[in-house]
Amino acid sequence: MSSQDNAIDSEQICKLLDEMTASMASARETIGLLKTKGPSYFKNKDGISLLSLKHHVLVSYLQSLLLVSTRRALGNSLSERNPPPQPFSSSERSVRGAGSGDLVDQMIEGRIVLEKVKTLEGRMRYQIEKLVKAARQQEKVESDDVDDPLAFRPNPQNLLESHDHDEDTNADIDETADGIYRPPRVAPMPYIPQTTATTKRQQRAPVPTALASVLHTDGSMPHVESTSGLGNTPSLNNTSSRAKYLKHLTEFEEEQFGRVMMGKKEARRRARDEEALALGGGLSGLGEEGKGAGRRRRTAGGWEDEFGDVLQGIGRSSASGGDGYDELRQRGKRSGVLERSRENQKRTAELVVDGEIQKRKKSRFEMERKRVKSKR
């Protein structure tokens, strides 16, 4: 086993040595290049720059590392120190001694300097990037200002060079030669009235009450049945606010142990609405204000639906027996020639006109007839 280890070790060592010779050869090449540049290349009359400081510090770090490793390999201790008396901040600091401890100190120093340089570089990142970009760009490529993120930095120089602005024509400021302001031309658009939720609801057909319960039933839940067996009538659902109000009213009265004071109209309306609910019909309108348009909207079920045909027959002076059914029968029959021609005339008169519906011009005969009727 030890022989195998030795074999592996020797292989690794050979590899390492080869790598080292290759890297040393490449380093020699670059040093040769630098030598040809001449001493003027390395002159720093303004002092060493931040970017080259990194390189110098790194090189010295590598030097010290190499020396320390060789001395350690030879067996010397690393504690021989000969530190300079002055502190780091003074510029007249003398060179360190050549002891191994000094080299270690130098490495530590270099590391700290590199860390500080890193933070300084972060602050100068923008300028550095600009310089790098300028160095890379050989020809002036017209880059899009929008794409280039570095172009959005505020440039105070633009404020000074105002006489150069005649060349730059801004598309936004369109000024004619005489300096008159011309408003922008707007294309005509058709007027589309806004459809609010209420108008949409009004235009849509209302859900039929037979299917209204389907809206509220949940398919995943089991079928619910009531003890009275009446099912999902609108009054039971209490969908209309009027129904809810009446229910609330009865509960309130029972709780307060007394009837609520109501006028004749209110009491009559309440009785009528309760009748409608009892017959299984829905109610429209909010709370106490099911008045006016809300009331006239006839919802399904209720008193009118149940007895409408009979009730509407009362008080009608018709040629038929006074019954609603008879009136329906009469209506089903074809009317006479005169009536039919009148109906057709009215219909055709409206159809003929394209744009607006004009009123039918009444003939002399019609006017006379009207007058006779009103006189009677």
């Binding site: 009265e253 029972e254 709780e255 142990f257 007394g258 009837r259 309760e274 009748e275 009892a278 017959l279």
Partner: protein, 136 residues
């Protein structure tokens, strides 16, 4: 009039009101076949149920539901007569016969008399309150 079916009384929300010395509840009357049950009959039945005098029982506010057969109202049973006279409103006492109705001339007449009397001072008011006699 014979009842086609017996009348059923159901009490709900029963409260013993110690402050007003009475027991009060919501009364459901089931009367199929009859239009409704009179208040006197109801107070008799309640008196029999709660073993009190029928004069102590007060019923009011009955409304028959649409379709008939059921009406809902309120009922009170007082502990004694003096508490009843103290706490009941006048009109209900008149209904049950414990108080007499105050006969007043009509409101309009009263106001007219007052306005006529405003023109006079002192004992002349009484004479002046009468309307001027119409000429024959």
């Amino acid at each position: 009039m014979a009842d086609s079916a017996p009348v059923t009384l159901r009490t709900r929300k029963f409260i013993t009101n110690r402050l007003l010395a009475r027991r009060q509840f919501v009364l459901d009357v089931l009367h199929p076949g009859i239009p409704n049950v009179s208040k006197e009959e109801l107070s008799e039945k309640l008196a029999a149920m709660y073993k009190t005098d029928k004069k102590r029982v007060v019923t009011f506010g009955f409304r028959t539901v649409f379709g008939g057969g059921r009406s809902t109202g309120f009922a009170l049973i007082y502990d004694n007569e003096e508490s009843q006279k103290k706490f009941e409103p006048k009109y209900r006492l008149v209904r049950s016969g414990l108080a007499a109705k105050v006969e007043k001339p009509s409101r309009k007449l009263r106001k007219e008399r007052k306005n006529r009397a405003k023109k006079f001072r002192g004992t002349q008011k009484i004479k002046g309150a009468e309307p001027a006699k119409k000429g024959k």
